[in-house]
C-alpha cells in the first residue's frame, strides 16, 4: 500500500515544550480497541486535551487556535514507552506531517516513518531556538526539506542538517512502503530458511 509522498513543508508549528512525552499520552490505552486505523486523530493527546466532561482544556496547545501548522515541535525523548503504532496513526490522523524533537524513542521513530510522518531530530540549541521564535510570534515558521535533509527556523534563518537513512528517505519521497519491498524478496527468504539453524 503506497504511503503519501513527502514534500517540503514550510508552515507555522505547534510547540509542546514537554520532555519524555510517552505514547500513553499521545494515545491513551483505552482508545486502542479499534480494529482499523481510522479516527485516532480525534483522540490525539486525549487526556491532556479534554477534561473529564470531554470539554477542550483551554490551556492545552492543541486547543489554542493561535498555534497551527502541520509540524509538531516537542521536548526531548518524544514517543517513549509502548510500541503502539496507534500513536503514529493519531499524529498522522490529526494532520501532522513532521515531528521535531531533540531525541526520539526508537520504536516511535520507526512507526512514524512507516506512516509517512517524518521525525526530525535536531540539536538542543536548535530546538530551544524554535521555542523562542514561537514565543515571540505564534505564527513563526519552520521549513523542512527532506531532499536536502535540512530544517530551518524561518524567523532566525538558523538551519540544521538532520539524519535519515537513504533507504527510508527514498521510501518517504517516493511513497513506497516496506512490505512491497519484502514481498519482492520471496526467493531470498526461502533460501535463508533452507540454511537456518532449527531444532
Amino acid at each position: 500500500m503506497p504511503i503519501e509522498k513527502f514534500v517540503t513543508v514550510q508552515t507555522s508549528f505547534v510547540p509542546m515544550p514537554i520532555e519524555n512525552v510517552d505514547t500513553d499520552q499521545i494515545i491513551p490505552a483505552r482508545f486502542l480497541k479499534a480494529t482499523t486505523k481510522d479516527g485516532f486523530g480525534d483522540n490525539l493527546f486525549f487526556d491532556w486535551r479534554y477534561d473529564k466532561a470531554g470539554q477542550p482544556k483551554s490551556d492545552f496547545v492543541l486547543n489554542n487556535s493561535a498555534y497551527t501548522g502541520t509540524v509538531l515541535v516537542a521536548g526531548k525523548n518524544f514517543g517513549s514507552g509502548s510500541s503502539r503504532e496507534h500513536a503514529a496513526w493519531a499524529i498522522a490522523g490529526y494532520g501532522f506531517k513532521v515531528v521535531v524533537s531533540s531525541f526520539f524513542a526508537d520504536i516511535f521513530r520507526n512507526n512514524s516513518l512507516n506512516n509517512g510522518v517524518l521525525p526530525v531530530q535536531v540539536s538542543e540549541v536548535f530546538l530551544a531556538g524554535l521555542f523562542d521564535a514561537v514565543e515571540t510570534n505564534n505564527k513563526a515558521e519552520v521549513k523542512v526539506d527532506l531532499e536536502n535533509q535540512t530544517i530551518s527556523n524561518v524567523s532566525t534563518g538558523a538551519s540544521e542538517h538532520f539524519e535519515i537513512n537513504t533507504y527510508k528517505k527514498s521510501c518517504l519521497m517516493n511513497g513506497y512502503d516496506d512490505i512491497d519491498f519484502l514481498l519482492s524478496l520471496e526467493k531470498e527468504i526461502a533460501a535463508y530458511e533452507k540454511q537456518a539453524v532449527k531444532f
Binding site: P28, A29, L32, T36, E85, L185, I189
Partner: protein, 467 residues
C-alpha cells in the same frame, strides 16, 4: 575480533543488507495479541496476500480480557470485538491461538517462555514493547509496530536498522529483600528513560548469573523502559534447566543438539561493546518510582530529588509530574499512603512473584483501606498457584487471587485505578493515566508491594519482613 552474543544472533538472521538502510531480518517466532494485530491482518487482506509462515506465529488475547468471571462473555463491547477479531483472523490464517479459558491462555510474554516456545538464539517479535522479556533466554526479542507486524505476518521478515551494543554488568551479591525488579529500577533511575535508546543491551555479571529465569525475565522485560531496543542474557545451565521438558522444547537427540548450539551463544572475551556500564549489586536497595516515567525512581527509604538537583531544561516537566502525583520535590517516600496494590503483569506475574508475595505476607493481614489485585500472568501460573495452596494463603490474609490477564497494568480492561488514587504496582509503567485516567502509579517489586499491602503506606520490605 570476537563477537558479542547480540551480533552472533543478529548476523545469523540477516537475509539481506541494504546499503545505508536497515537489514532484512528473519523472524523465528512471532507472537501476536488482539490490540496490535487487527490492522496488520487488514493490510494483508487488502493486498490480497496471506500469512507466510502461520506455524511460526502464536496468538493469545491478553490486554482486554477481564480477570474475574472469565467463563462469561467479555462485557465491554469493543474489547469483545477485538478479541473475537483475533480469533477470526487466526482461524482464517491457520494460526494457533490460546484463547480465553484455554489452559495456555495468558499474557503473551508469560505464555511464550512457559510453553518452551521461547528458546536461545531465536529472533522473536511481537507488537508489544515488552517483547524484550524473551531476551532472558539469550534471544533477540523486541517490540514492533503494527506495520512491522504486517511485514512479519506477510514475509516472516522485518526491516530493522542494527542497534548499537551496550553491556550492563552487575557484579556481586544482592542483599536479602532486594530483587531483580530493584536491579532494573535502579539502572533505569541512573540512565533515565532515554539512556538506552539506540542500543541493544546485554545484562551480564555475577549478580545476573545468580538469578532465576523468572527474575531474568523481569530485568529484560523493562529494558525498553530505558529506551533500549531490547535486553538479553546469555543462556546457561539455569536457562537449559528451565526449558527442558516444556511442551515445545526440543526433545531427545534434538535436545542435545540444541544445548550444544545454545552453549555457543555467549559474548567472546575480546568482543567490543559501543558502551559498557558497571554496577555493584551491594549498592542496590528496594526501589520505587515517585514520578510519571520509569526513570523517576529512588530507594524506598530515600527522598524525591530536591528541585535544585534537576536540570533547568527539565524543571518544568519535573514539576508537571510532581503536580500529577500530588508529591513535592524533596519529599520522603516511605510513609506515603497507598490505596491500591497490584501484583501481576508481564514484569512480575510469574509463579515466583506470587510465591515471594505470599511468603512475605505470611502471618500478616492486608491493611484496611487497601484494595489489592493479585493477578497471575497466565492460566499455567494460576494452576500452579492453586496447586501450591497460594490462593488459600492469600485469602487467609485478606487478599484475592484473580484470573490471568494484563489487568491493571494498562487500563484496557475492567481493572482500573480510580482518579487520584495511589497504586503500588509490580508492572512496568507509571505514565500519567497508565492504570486509568488520573491514576497515580508507584512501580516496585512484589516484596515492596507486599510491604505496602500490609501496612497501607510505602514501606521498605526489610523493615517488616524477616528474610
Amino acid at each position: 575480533m570476537g563477537k558479542t552474543l547480540f551480533d552472533k544472533i543478529w548476523d545469523s538472521h540477516v537475509v539481506k543488507t541494504i546499503e545505508d538502510g536497515p537489514n532484512v531480518l528473519y523472524i523465528d517466532r512471532h507472537f501476536i495479541h488482539e490490540v496490535t494485530s487487527p490492522q496488520a491482518f487488514g493490510g494483508i487482506k487488502a493486498r490480497g496476500g496471506k500469512v507466510a509462515r502461520p506455524d511460526q506465529v502464536i496468538a493469545t488475547p491478553d490486554h482486554n480480557i477481564p480477570t474475574i468471571n472469565q467463563h462469561l462473555t467479555i462485557q465491554d463491547e469493543l474489547s469483545r470485538h477485538q478479541v473475537e477479531t483475533l480469533k477470526k483472523n487466526c482461524e482464517e490464517n491457520g494460526i494457533t491461538m490460546y484463547g480465553l479459558n484455554h489452559p495456555y491462555n495468558g499474557i503473551v510474554h508469560v505464555v511464550g517462555p512457559e510453553l518452551g516456545i521461547t528458546q536461545p538464539g531465536m529472533t522473536i517479535v511481537c507488537g508489544d514493547s515488552h517483547t524484550s522479556t524473551h531476551g532472558a533466554f539469550g534471544s533477540i526479542a523486541f517490540g514492533i509496530g503494527t506495520s512491522e507486524v504486517e511485514m512479519a505476518l506477510a514475509t516472516q521478515c522485518i526491516m530493522q536498522p542494527k542497534p548499537k551494543r551496550l553491556r550492563i554488568n552487575i557484579e556481586g551479591e544482592l542483599a536479602k529483600g532486594v530483587t531483580s525488579k530493584d536491579i532494573i529500577l535502579y539502572i533505569i533511575a541512573d540512565v533515565s528513560t532515554g539512556g538506552g535508546t539506540g542500543y541493544f543491551v546485554e545484562f551480564a555479571g555475577s549478580a545476573i548469573r545468580g538469578l532465576s529465569m523468572e527474575a531474568r525475565m523481569t530485568i529484560c522485560n523493562m529494558s525498553i523502559e530505558m529506551g533500549a531496543r531490547g535486553g538479553m542474557i546469555a543462556p546457561d545451565e539455569t536457562t537449559f534447566e528451565y526449558i527442558k521438558g516444556r511442551e515445545q522444547a526440543p526433545k531427545g537427540e534434538q535436545w542435545n543438539k540444541a544445548v550444544n548450539y545454545w552453549k555457543s551463544l555467549c559474548t567472546d572475551e575480546d568482543a567490543v561493546f559501543d558502551k559498557e556500564l558497571h554496577y555493584a549489586a551491594e549498592d542496590i536497595e528496594p526501589m520505587i518510582t515517585y514520578g510519571t516515567n520509569p526513570g523517576m525512581g529512588a530507594k524506598v527509604r530515600g527522598n524525591i530529588p530536591a528541585l535544585e538537583t534537576i536540570e533547568d531544561s527539565s524543571k518544568n516537566s519535573f514539576q508537571k509530574s510532581m503536580e500529577y502525583m500530588g508529591f513535592a520535590a524533596g519529599d520522603k517516600i516511605e510513609g506515603k499512603p497507598v490505596d491500591y496494590v497490584f501484583v501481576g503483569s508481564c514484569t512480575n506475574g510469574r509463579i515466583e512473584d506470587l510465591r515471594s508475595f505470599c511468603d512475605a505476607i505470611k502471618g500478616k493481614q492486608k491493611a484496611e483501606g487497601v484494595t489489592a489485585w493479585i493477578v497471575p500472568g497466565s492460566k499455567q501460573v494460576e494452576k500452579q498457584a492453586l496447586a501450591e495452596g497460594l490462593k488459600e494463603q492469600l485469602e487467609m490474609a485478606g487478599f484475592e487471587l484473580r484470573q490471568p490477564g494484563c489487568s491493571a497494568c494498562l487500563a484496557m480492561n475492567d481493572d482500573k485505578i480510580p482518579e487520584g488514587k495511589y497504586a503500588v504496582a509490580t508492572s512496568n509503567r507509571n505514565f500519567e493515566g497508565r492504570q486509568g485516567p488520573g491514576s497515580r502509579t508507584l512501580l516496585a517489586s512484589p516484596l515492596t508491594a507486599a510491604a505496602a499491602a500490609v501496612t497501607g503506606v510505602v514501606t521498605d520490605p526489610r523493615t517488616i519482613f524477616n528474610f
